[in-house]
Symmetry: C2
Amino acid sequence: MQQAIAILDSGVGGLTVVKEVMRQLPREKIIYYGDTARAPYGPRPADEVLKFTGQIVDFLIQFDPKVIVIACNTATAAALEEISSKVSVPVIGVIHPGARAAISATNTGHVGVIGTVGTISSGAYTTALKQLSPYIEIVSLACPLLVPIVERGEFHSKSTSLIVRKSLLPMTNQYMDCLILGCTHYPFLRETIQEVMGPYVKLISSADETARETSTILYNKGKLASGDTLPIHQFYCSGDARLFRSIARQWLGEQIGNIPVLWQVTRLG
Amino acid sequence: MQQAIAILDSGVGGLTVVKEVMRQLPREKIIYYGDTARAPYGPRPADEVLKFTGQIVDFLIQFDPKVIVIACNTATAAALEEISSKVSVPVIGVIHPGARAAISATNTGHVGVIGTVGTISSGAYTTALKQLSPYIEIVSLACPLLVPIVERGEFHSKSTSLIVRKSLLPMTNQYMDCLILGCTHYPFLRETIQEVMGPYVKLISSADETARETSTILYNKGKLASGDTLPIHQFYCSGDARLFRSIARQWLGEQIGNIPVLWQVTRLG
């Protein structure tokens, strides 16, 4: 049987990684777990996020995946290191791919980062960016209101636009040429974020970049799927199945339009 | 002693990878070999390119590098697989990073590739792109006149502009939204290539992307350099040292402006 790429998130945010993996690696089978019943992770203490992430990894490892992608910045900051040391499959987080893409994209060396309270207060992006280059200047901002909007599926309402504007206000007069979307939920709000930041700030999606690095790592391990049989993806969530499925179908659109997909609700812990 | 990133090319083309590695990973020490006396590799038979590449790798391996980057598309197509199986350090080619970046960047799935005769006739980009996604449409073109221009250091002359225009003419009426610069020499001519292809075709530099994947691979192996001592880079070439140094200084500019660099001529074979 084809080994899958396992992808997990606190909720629907990791679907932004799923979409890119489906687009960049259409031969790969995906098993997704979104902990929608316990989202958002952002405001939770790090040890609780570590515990929840461990439970999801224990669940996903049963499917014998070839790689596990922690498609949640908060969980990456809190749990990547410990989880990596515990399981035998490669584990990929979203923070280093985002940091590498920003270093590659910036011309001025001035980079902004937005994320959850958990991600920003961990300082994980600053550490990752400074590990690559001591010359990078970083401005960070926690935007705690954005994940709940996305989890409710409200991407384009007037109040969403207002909340994004208000959340990003402290960033609009900062000097930067790149802004890292340091939360996999944020690409759902990409258009509004781009509008607020203006056309000269490149948005770096940690989600897109992680999909690409997953491709790099699978290639280097000789683990890319071959063959032309379309894979059957599996989606699990812990909360409202109808809302999850509606957001997933809306976001993934043509990527899952014509192919069979398994949906299931599974609570952990 | 700090382990270096070893980078090789048929000539000065790999300097485009060097520049990006210096920018994205300023802590890393670089040892470069440019086989300027035997450039271009593009028109040479594959077994000769394999032999020359093997000689350079034998030379570089003496420095105990942490990774070897074959920063030449022609050499990657002819030698990556065999060299990888022979040495114990990771060997990175430029073709798969370019292919992955194009798959990530394209919206329409229509991708163009330009390269040397050796690279294009090997079909290596088509293979790499199709391995990732069966839905990609590819148009390829060999541009044998471009490497000699760059090796002479003529980046901005009127005749250069004319040769680039004439070489790319068959690509200008093809449907594509990305064009892979499938030769590490081509970023030297980037502005002219962009002018000829128009603003709606994204140029994907296999050089830039390889620098980024080198960063990914070193990170995943726990091999990124730390510390704040500036490394002393070493540059070797087999041909005209003065021309090589002049092109390198011009291209690398501020990247090597204030730092000590060793230059040396070494012939192999």
